[in-house]
Symmetry: D2
Subunit: 351 residues, 4 copies
């Protein structure tokens, strides 16, 4: 009953098989191998667009590398105040970006609303030598709260961003979860609604450790190879990272894995709601946020359930930090089983 | 009728005289001169404390150097969301601090309230490898809104900060204006209420270009000389910068100049209030923020008045951006004359 | 016949097996897992010393992270002018180290001689606010030229470094190759001869992608977790990286793999020498540098041999860039077979 | 008898007068004033070219800002191994340049010879993701050794640089000294021989603290205002820095001051040579480097002479660090008098 994180899961069997299969003979290091070449072609096909593809070891690296490409050191990256970039990466965007600035925007359920972005850009002050230059809007899809932007929402945010000369980044650590729910194509969820650069995650979805920065405009990729190398993210035995992504994307595996994770979350959420424990944000991807009475929390943990408490400013304070209740996050993954869910629900009922 | 900025004023005569007087013969470069030695002794006396003193050319440099000393690159600096550090320095703190992060706190009238700070520190998440470490609280005295922290307010904020292991920085670009109003000693306004490091401004107060980082705990100054040098802020003909500060602090000149500026602001504020134009924030230093009807604004500018429009999130929106009104900032300085004020007020009345 | 790089090899079977075996159930992310705990204990045992262990994805990251830990931004890292850190990492040390400076020292065969180091430290200028502070000596073991420092040589260099207040870093991307040749313990090759921090490579030796920063003085590790995280090098599914290192170090596998690679290099070098093509530097690890007549070079490539030309300032120019000859590097790895070597040698003879 | 540095001199009277004269009324801060506008026009006229002009407080800032503009963070700046940029700025170029790398080239008398540059660029390795990209050649005019590049020498170096896609920076902290000696125009010494960006110093020449980055191609100035601001080098009361440069350049004052300094150096050098103490490098600007017997050194210091010992790798070791002799630097400035020189020479003779 591990609902701590999608990172607590292991590797999907098909992806592990691909790693093993890739271990044949010699191959040119640093991306000059055949697997990497195939992967690049596959991503262009998948996104129905020319793409630049740059693999790195972690989602933090993908995000930080991506925003550093599209914001100057004196640039500002507007993002949700509780997104991963802002809160969970220990300043990686600022580090990769030579001291760029994140501007934290509020928003219900982890999402930035279009009027919030428009107001922030209109108000400023921005630019000139005194103020940082608004350079990037970074969206998280699915969000840190387990919600999902609709393509129209992204389109509207991107239109505002572009009208002000900003570029649009999407942190897609859980991009597959969004895609599986929205039932739209990768293209429809990215460049077709205005995304300029995407952190495409595979690790949370079932890979061992494989993330890609996908760039839809090659002018934005200038210097990215040097930037990646000096961050220590040019993997030497590159074929093994490429192989993970290749297997992840083959035969819609990524969508199947995500659909499974989303489905487990749905099941859990429904049962919780029926037990009088409604999710505090819509369960649209693979995460459920719910306020547990302390006694129940203790009983669940005693029964072997693992999950993390959650911190947010978003909710009314009574909804998150009552003395006798705790806001927690439950994450389902490709590896979550119906048995896990049933056992968890049984532990709730058994109180 | 220039109310644009205290930086629009020139140099106070006594300070200019000191520069001229200093131009005698040779002196060791880079701070090894007699004037610098005297200034350091003077500051220790003035602050009634051992101090480290590091001169730089601008207030931005002083602030950025100071916070970079007391926050690691993965540190967070909690500051008011509209303070100079956050808004007007084009990312200098992030640059000097190798990518540190500013956390923008709201607060009425440019001031951080103690509960706001306490809540931000309590809520987090902070530290561990994932989150930046809360490292610094930076206060502005007088604030960007022309208000002033009372010593007790700073003491309370500093106590909260210190209890969480943070250091306290004060941006004192207008420190003299606060001191002159509070009628307390430099010691009482700094280390005695918990300030660890101070950007002591003289430029806005009447110098040509002279700012000091004053460090009250020499452990915090480790490496500061190297950091200053590599930022290009070790002035070669150092005696001329030291001479400005020496003259500024001699015979309480700084307080006299600040008292004059504050007094001019008071006079202006009173007359404006009497004319039905009350300041939106208490006028406690040398700045007045007031909403002007557009027609009046145009008449004043036509009459030769110079000042800047102001952007804020702090006020209710009807108070700041009505279609037919504009929020403006009027700054008085040591060089503002009663005649300037009278002329401005006459232009108001003459409408 | 791939002699391009040890990175062109795949993964040693025992290491791949360990990865596969590790894929059981859930585990805490980011290093909170049992494999990582075991690895840390194993490294302490292996090095006969308390150690801090920080895994990263690449050797470049390990090196850059290590030197950034022990040099301030205004620090200088003295290293061989042709070492990996200086030439092949696209400025990663400068990036991680917030602008630190590498000082390139000359030296025959990729090694820094003690008098060279002593003279550089004695001459300076170092420190004060004007000059960078000499902070680190970085040695490569085995070197970029395939040579090896004897423990006494490292001891002497470290003694000079420590006497001047510097710390000693070793880039051990090929540490196992050195150990296998020297037939000494890991302790004897590291802290016992004065090494303060070690980049312990496994990737070149046979892992898929696993490198460790090993710190012998925990005071030097302060902040390293934050620094690693913000560089995007805290691996989420951490157990899989730890498992690689665990398998690599188990039952002296690393030494066996290195011994094999070294032995293949020996065999190749001997045959080349017998063919009138002596190595330009002593073949002490798994690399051979040799000047090939152009015609032979072409014949070898036509026969399917792969290797890279090499650039150096070290050799007399006639030895490296004659019009009709080319300096090349041949790298043997754990995966190099006797058949590869024989085929290569046959291609030479067949000319 | 102060020959420590041109920075030990004070301010030339005409420049101090200009500062005093400028202190009239209000002026827009941050460079929006009339003096700055005039200065920009004057520099365009002087250089016979459109120029971007960016004032800063120190020569270190000017150099670091200039190279950061024309080298990416993964760029390499090729410069003389003993130039100010490399040795005396505590890593400022690396700081401003987000971790760029200086490549130290050897060269007699502080000058880079064309074949040295050509060989370094030809040899590499440069570029690709693994190696830094050669981006800038930085020359010092006059050099740190008091020598001067002839225009043809700069033209040849610049041609090599440009042919390899590099830009050319000149550190002109003593540009006037070079110009006065060469008797050529500012244009002939800069863009006409291939210089792309110039640090134009005035401080050492007689100003109080005023340096300009002069950019000859406006495409190279993109973002420079933001970069300067975030380094804390946008001076608020800007007119006073502009006024110094205006006075410095008016009526060829800068050349007159430099000619005086050069002449004093000539006189000193001639007398020293006649006394059997020849300069170790040609005395072409305002600096003399000479090996003094220890006894003479002590006698001179006892007589009140001030100067610094000098460290170099350039000279044969017997010429610089004999037990009974010391290499010293004597700097003449606009403020050096014939009486100073005579007194110094008398102290030599009186031994």
């Amino acid at each position: 009953m591990n609902f701590e994180s999608d990172n607590a899961a292991g590797v999907a069997p098909a992806i592990l098989d691909a790693i093993v299969r890739t271990n044949q003979g010699f191959a040119q290091a640093y991306g000059g191998d055949a697997v990497t070449a195939r992967l690049k072609a596959r991503l262009a096909e998948l996104f129905e667009h020319e793409v630049g593809v740059y693999l790195v070891a972690t989602g933090t690296a993908a995000n930080a590398l991506a925003v550093a490409q599209i914001a100057p050191p004196w640039g500002a990256v507007l993002c949700h105040e509780e997104c991963h970039l802002a809160v969970d990466e220990c300043g990686a965007p600022e580090f990769f970006g030579a001291g760029l600035k994140l501007i934290a925007l509020p928003g219900a359920g982890g999402k930035i609303a279009a009027p919030t972005l428009a107001a922030a850009l209109a108000r400023g002050p921005w630019g000139g030598p005194h103020h940082t230059t608004a350079a990037v809007v970074s969206l998280t899809q699915a969000t840190e709260c387990g919600t999902i932007y609709r393509p129209d929402e992204i389109r509207e945010l991107a239109a505002i961003a572009h009208a002000h000369g900003l570029k649009v980044h999407v942190d897609g650590a859980r991009f597959a979860n969004a895609l599986a729910r929205l039932e739209i194509s990768a293209a429809a969820a990215s460049w077709q609604c205005g995304v300029d650069i995407l952190s495409l995650g595979a690790t949370k979805g079932g890979a061992m450790g494989a993330e890609a920065v996908v760039v839809f405009d090659h002018a934005l990729a200038r210097g990215i190879e040097e930037r990646r190398k000096r961050a220590g993210h040019l993997i030497s035995k590159h074929r093994f990272v490429a192989a993970q992504l290749e297997a992840y994307l083959a035969d819609d595996l990524w969508l199947a894995l995500a659909r499974h994770a989303n489905g487990m979350a749905d099941r859990l959420a429904l049962a919780l709601a029926n037990a009088g424990l409604p999710a505090v944000w819509p369960v649209e991807a693979n995460e459920i946020f719910v306020v547990l009475p302390r006694a129940l929390d203790q009983r669940l943990r005693a029964a072997g359930a693992r999950y993390f408490a959650w911190v947010t400013k978003d909710l009314p304070s009574r909804a998150r930090d009552a003395d006798d209740a705790v806001l927690v996050r439950l994450v389902a993954s490709f590896a979550t089983t119906g048995a896990d869910v049933d056992k968890f629900l049984a532990a709730i009922r058994d109180g």
